[in-house]
């Protein structure tokens, strides 16, 4: 039963869903904060990029697991 490919596909989809949700909420908060205080926009942008890269790091962990599944 070749369920590994199916599992890899589902895993990748779910991971992207979670990651996109997290980064979307992050971007929304950053936009709102920049709108409230435009002078802090530079700091907010830096923190937003850091947090987005960390969230993406987590989703890439799951992607590595999916790739390992699909390749076995």
């Amino acid at each position: 039963m070749e369920f590994a490919y199916l599992a890899a596909g589902f895993g990748a989809g779910l991971t992207i869903f979670g990651g996109a949700l997290g980064i979307g909420k992050l971007a929304a908060a950053a936009m709102e904060a920049s709108g409230r205080q435009p002078e802090a926009a530079g700091d907010i942008r830096t923190s937003m990029i850091i947090a987005a890269a960390l969230i993406e790091g987590i989703s890439l962990f799951a992607l590595v697991v999916c790739i390992l599944l699909a390749l076995k």
Binding site: I49, I50, E56, G57, L60, F61, L63, V64, I67, L71
Partner: protein, 282 residues
Amino acid sequence: MYSEEIKTVTDSLNAASSSQSESGTGWIMHHIMDSNTLDFEPFFSIQLPHLNLFGFDISITKHIVFMWIAFALLVLIFNIVAKSYKKSLLPKGLTNIMEVLVLFVRDEIAKPTIGKGYEKFLPYLLTVFFFILFCNFLGLIPYGSTATSNISVTATLAIISFIVIQAGGMMKNGAFRYFKGLIPGGVPGWLLPIMFVVEILGLFTKPFALAVRLFANMTAGHIVIMALLGLIFILQTFFVAPVSVAFALFIYLLEILVALIQAYIFTMLSSLFIGMAVHQDH
């Protein structure tokens, strides 16, 4: 410490490249993985030597050649930069660019996260930032290959970061007080054994996350570009070419951004962990 994970990843990548060659997409994995030949595809191929030392395979591979190129570029550029400071303190040209980056690492990464005593760790942070940056950029030029898309390279960088973090923390705080200071204050007595285990595990998972984050980001970007371009070969029609190349170009530009961001994130997180190890009372 990481040898089983490294073996698993490289075994499955090997299996992928051999299983895909029948279906005509083996070249995707071949372009991303390490290999013993330097391919300048339609023109010529340079076969790299296999070396063997006491049963360990230390043959020179594509990623090692590109690491050496990054090393040579770093030594060259920073020698020029350092010498130009002897002539005048006002930077011009190449020195100006490098000064912007060096000051960025010092003022945005090292000083806020380590605080007092950041000068001791600045050489290591600058080295790791520029090495990862150059390796990532070398993978983006044509015929280039990303050394940091190899889990062994990123695991080595993470292990070196781990050593710097622990050595920095132990030299500042003393070995025993460093381990005692891992557990935050004000914790009830019955929680202490679990807290200790959790903190020791945390010491190891943080560099592991650094390694996997850098490896996965670099490899995933290249796989997406190859897959988009391979769509032309799978569908075997010319009409998908404009769409495919346009998407691949967009992902390529994103890759440049990701190369910069990943170098910054690796350095920032290393410096954050160094700061947490050195000033434990935060």
